[in-house]
């Protein structure tokens, strides 16, 4: 079987997997309802509204949100069928929280998430690979032990704590100190993706777009560093261990015997081969980009999908979580598939069949 047959077979498997995930998600998100009778309508009712609530009004509210009061088995079957049809026709409905189409709410937040996750993933990956390669050439040395210790320590730190510490130091203490000492505030913003004060200037400036872009980068720095540093440990260990294995291979011995200098052996022969498994990991990382980073986004009030997912889960905003989880499932499955294909492209020894 060649590549074409492999692609066709994998495509069918992927489609079936997506269907299974979508079906599973219906029950997963409604678990609080099944177990505890939890109900999104409860959160939508202010105290004022409860005082004026009539049975008719309540039933109408349920109907407006596509829910059923006291559903029986047939109501559940009907809701499940409607859910499956909507998922596969792209009609994700209206968010209970924002009262707007789900896709509008997702599309608004997606760029922020991709920006944060993309840049922080790059930082993690590049930092991890760079440090991994640096120490793999001399395993067991003080440098290697030190690097492993630091990587594990940082990896084990709670990312929200790291974020809060960076925020306090670079978002509050540093600006305060520079203002007191030099009369100018140098530091990083404490919340959001852009500052109102910068935005107010930008909206009347011919260079508004550039100013806003710069401000976004300014706001991005701390959360990006938080996630980047907090996550590099995994890539470091993976790269280091792969490279140590590769450096024991015969062709490395041959390369040395041919008289190549150690840097050429390490980077041209060793690292290239050690990168092969990393490709899979990196592809999967980018496949899960739209997960967002709930804790970091909350600490920095970064308006991304991670925080939105969390808020929607708490509020039992089914339309939103259903849509996002379906998108995540599709991107993860696709990323895995792309990783498999890439592996075959990069390594001629890999055959499909």
């Amino acid at each position: 079987m060649g590549l074409r047959e492999y692609v066709i077979r994998r495509s069918i498997y992927m489609f079936l997997l997506v269907v299974a995930v979508v079906c599973f998600n219906f029950f997963l998100f409604r678990l609080p309802t099944f177990l505890f009778g939890a109900n999104p309508i409860s959160l939508m009712l202010s105290d004022e509204l409860r005082r004026n609530l009539t049975q008719d009004l309540l039933e109408q509210m349920y109907a407006n949100f596509g829910l059923v009061m006291n559903p029986d088995i047939f109501d559940w079957i009907y809701m499940f069928w409607r859910y499956i049809v909507s998922m596969f026709t792209g009609n994700f409905g209206v968010s209970f929280l924002t009262k707007r189409p789900v896709m509008d709410s997702i599309v608004e937040r997606l760029p922020n998430t991709l920006l944060l996750m993309g840049t922080s993933s790059m930082v993690s990956i590049l930092l991890g690979i760079w440090t991994g390669v640096k120490v793999a050439s001399n395993p067991g040395s003080k440098k290697d032990i030190g690097a492993v210790t630091v990587a594990l320590f940082v990896y084990a730190l709670p990312v929200f704590w790291l974020g809060m510490m960076l925020l306090m130091v670079f978002g509050y203490m540093l600006p305060l100190w520079t203002e007191t000492t030099f009369g100018i505030r140098i530091g990083f913003p404490q919340f959001g993706t852009i500052s109102y004060e910068i935005w107010e200037v930008a909206r009347t400036s011919p260079f508004g777009a550039l100013i806003v872009a710069g401000d976004v980068l300014h706001h991005l720095f701390l959360p990006m560093i938080t996630l980047g540093i907090g996550g590099y440990g995994g890539y470091f260990l993976y790269m280091r261990n792969n490279l140590i294995d590769v450096m024991t291979e015969d062709y490395i011995l041959t390369a040395r015997a041919k008289g190549l200098d150690e840097n050429q052996v390490l980077y041209k022969h060793g690292m290239k081969n050690a990168m092969l498994p990393m490709v899979t990991v990196i592809a999967l990382t980018f496949g899960f980009l739209i997960n967002g980073a709930t804790l970091t986004e909350t600490v920095f009030t970064w308006r991304g999908l991670g925080r939105f997912i969390f808020e929607s889960l708490i509020a039992l905003d089914f339309p939103v979580v259903q849509a996002i989880f379906m998108i995540i499932a599709i991107t993860a499955i696709l990323a895995n598939f792309v990783a498999d294909l890439l592996y075959g492209v990069l390594d001629p020894r890999i055959k499909y069949g």
Binding site: E48, R50, T98, K99, E200, G214, L217, F221
Partner: protein
């Protein structure tokens, strides 16, 4: 000599008394007195920017750095020293909250269905511990189901006895006398039928200090009564569903917030007929005497009748204790004092109320400036009919107006109305028997934000709109249907008549406390109409009109980041010299000046760019090796 000394003493005394009388207004902490004109006059600031800051920690940092002047939530007592350390930040500690914390008991489940058990729990519960340990003194002991700030109806100070201090012996005696025995094996109590008792006091983990602390004090009280008990953290969805759907729970701690001083909600909250109705009567309470009293409250036609019924209700409930009030706390809120002054104590909506946002003025008494206010979440929608977010109401309350609004003392305060009369058949034979008619005289110089004059037709139409969209699912009209609105019309451009088919003391609130909407926008054939009541989504949908009538109007926003409202130059209550005298620029005075060119920004942008170049260049070089 003695006479001279006496005369001198007398003179000194008189002078001292005179000086004291002259100075005592300045020395006292009495709140500023506001008149009919005062509260509505404004706004003094140019803009209000509502900044979304998700976490309390970020909010504190933002307050400390001056990024915000006010915030929208109450802080825990442990945060006070952090704010106190900053000379530019004050913490309001004297606003008694129009809310209370309580432990709701499931009155349909044993042993909570026994009045003796509930009373024993109330006697054993130590409210002074809540005051000292949980709130560090910043709360008030309270028993009545009517909150203390509701000075129209509360009889807290006149209750014959209180549950403030723990009386464990008395509680145990009550249980002994009522047949609550002991399990010989466990040593814990059994109910009068011999069934073992175990009680879970649920609370939300989002407020470990307050909710967890109070729930633990409840468990301690139960254990002092030899009842097996424990706390149980439950997420908000779970316990609210238990309350709303009359689920299987024992006791749940949470807080209830009140608006204004109306009490006609008591029927749905404690009436027996609502004990099985979803979203009503969360404690599953049933009592015929209380039902009779609730009928009296509902049908009261005068304040005296309403007060008498409410007083009787509180007395009975003090005995029956369907829910145990655990505290009424002070609303702790931080605010910066280095840019604006004039902060007003508002018992309903606190320092972030619309009255404050109108009233705050620069320290040098000049107009202008931007008030930065933190909100904890982004608004859900600016559709006033579908929004159920307190964060949205923060913003919306600055842009829409009512005939009367809750003043800082929670009493009705005229906004769009100048005055009103109310008549029944007894006052005016032209009013049909059993009807209740209100005639409001509305202000004559108001204009909607699009320049359209405001008239009584807008008010009359508002009632029609709420009534007509109720069958379409608009919940805002439900109270009108309850009160049996029979007519709303404008006999003249500045007079509107609202008539109900029921006579009730509470009808004023039904008539007065509705956001008034522009007729030319919402009438059939208009941009929104009846069918668009729930799809209208201004600001988020640029095509939807956003016409308002308030001190501020919506200007611009960045979704999820900040929302900017600016002064509405058409506002009827602008100070006469508001635009006559030069105002300060929107750059705030006294605080940190935001540079147009940000050095840090330039450094970061350059560093990121350089890093990208280095990385790409490095990669290319490595490949070439």
């Amino acid at each position: 000599m003695n006479i001279n000394r006496r005369n001198r003493l007398l003179a000194y005394t008189l002078v001292t008394a005179f000086v004291f009388m002259a100075l005592s207004p300045a020395l006292s902490s009495a709140q500023p007195v506001f008149t009919l004109v005062d509260l509505n006059v404004g706004p003094n600031a140019e803009k209000v920017v509502f900044k979304v800051i998700a976490t309390e920690d970020n909010m504190i940092l933002a307050m400390q750095s001056g990024a915000v002047d006010l915030h929208d939530s109450f802080i825990e007592p442990t945060t006070i020293p952090i704010f106190d350390a900053d000379p530019s930040i004050e913490v309001s500690e004297n606003i008694l909250r129009n809310a209370y914390g309580h432990i709701v008991m499931n009155n349909a489940k044993s042993p909570m269905n026994w009045t003796a058990f509930r009373r024993a729990f109330a006697f054993a519960f130590d409210k002074t511990r809540v005051q000292s340990e949980v709130f560090q003194g910043l709360s008030q002991l309270h028993d009545s189901l009517v909150v203390y700030t509701n000075d129209l109806f509360t009889i807290e100070d006149d209750l014959p006895y209180h549950y403030y201090l723990p009386e464990v012996e008395r509680g145990n005696q009550l249980l002994n006398d009522s047949g609550f025995g002991f399990d010989p094996v466990t040593g814990y109590r059994t109910d009068p039928n011999g069934n073992p008792i175990h009680i879970e006091v649920a609370y939300s983990p989002s407020s470990q200090a307050i909710a967890g602390g109070t729930a633990q004090i409840g468990v301690d009280a139960l254990r002092a009564l030899h009842v097996s008990a424990e706390t149980n953290q439950e997420d908000f969805n779970t316990y609210s569903s238990n309350l709303d759907q009359h689920g299987d729970y024992d006791m749940i701690f949470y807080a209830t917030i009140f608006y204004g001083k109306t009490l006609n909600y008591l029927v749905q909250r404690y009436g027996s007929e609502y004990a099985d109705v979803p979203y009503q009567n969360p404690s599953n309470f049933r009592n015929e005497t209380i039902d009779r009293i609730l009928d009296d409250i509902q049908n009261a036609r005068t304040y005296e009748e309403a007060f008498a019924a409410c007083a009787e209700f509180q007395l009975e409930m003090q005995y029956l204790v369907p829910i145990l009030i655990t505290y009424e706390n002070f609303y702790l809120q931080g605010y910066r004092t280095d840019r604006f002054k004039g902060h007003l104590v508002d018992r309903g909506r606190y320092l972030n109320s619309k009255w404050n946002l109108q009233r705050l003025i620069n320290l040098d008494d000049s107009y202008g400036g931007t008030i930065n206010l933190r909100i904890g979440q982004e608004p859900d929608t600016f559709n006033i009919f579908t929004s159920n977010s307190g964060y949205t109401s923060n913003i919306v309350s600055t842009m829409y107006s009512l005939l009367y609004d809750f003043g800082p003392d929670l009493d009705p305060y005229p906004v769009l109305a100048e005055s009103y009369t109310e008549e029944t058949h007894a006052d005016n034979p032209n009013v049909p028997a059993g009807h209740h008619r209100f005639t409001f005289n509305v202000i004559q110089n108001a204009t909607w934000s699009d320049g359209t004059p405001f008239t009584a037709e807008d008010v009359a139409f508002t009632f029609t709109y709420l009534q007509e969209t109720l069958p379409l699912g608009n919940p805002s009209g439900a109270s009108l249907a309850d009160a049996n609105l029979v007519a709303a019309y404008a006999p003249s451009p500045y007079q509107v008549v609202v008539e109900f088919g029921t006579e009730s003391y509470w009808n004023f609130g039904v008539a007065a406390y509705n956001y008034i909407i522009p007729k030319h926008i919402f009438e059939p054939g208009g941009p929104v109409g009846y069918e668009g009541w729930n799809t209208w989504n201004p600001a988020n949908n640029p095509e939807d009109p956003f016409v308002t009538l308030g001190p501020y109007k919506f200007n611009d926003f960045e979704a999820g980041e900040f929302y900017e409202v600016t002064i509405d130059p058409n506002w009827a209550y602008l100070p006469e010299d508001r635009f006559a005298t030069p105002t300060t620029s929107t750059t705030p005075t006294g605080g940190p000046t935001e540079p147009v060119f940000d050095a840090t920004l330039a450094i970061v942008a350059g560093a990121v760019g350089a890093a990208v170049v280095i990385l790409v260049g490095g990669f290319v070089l490595l490949r070439q090796k």
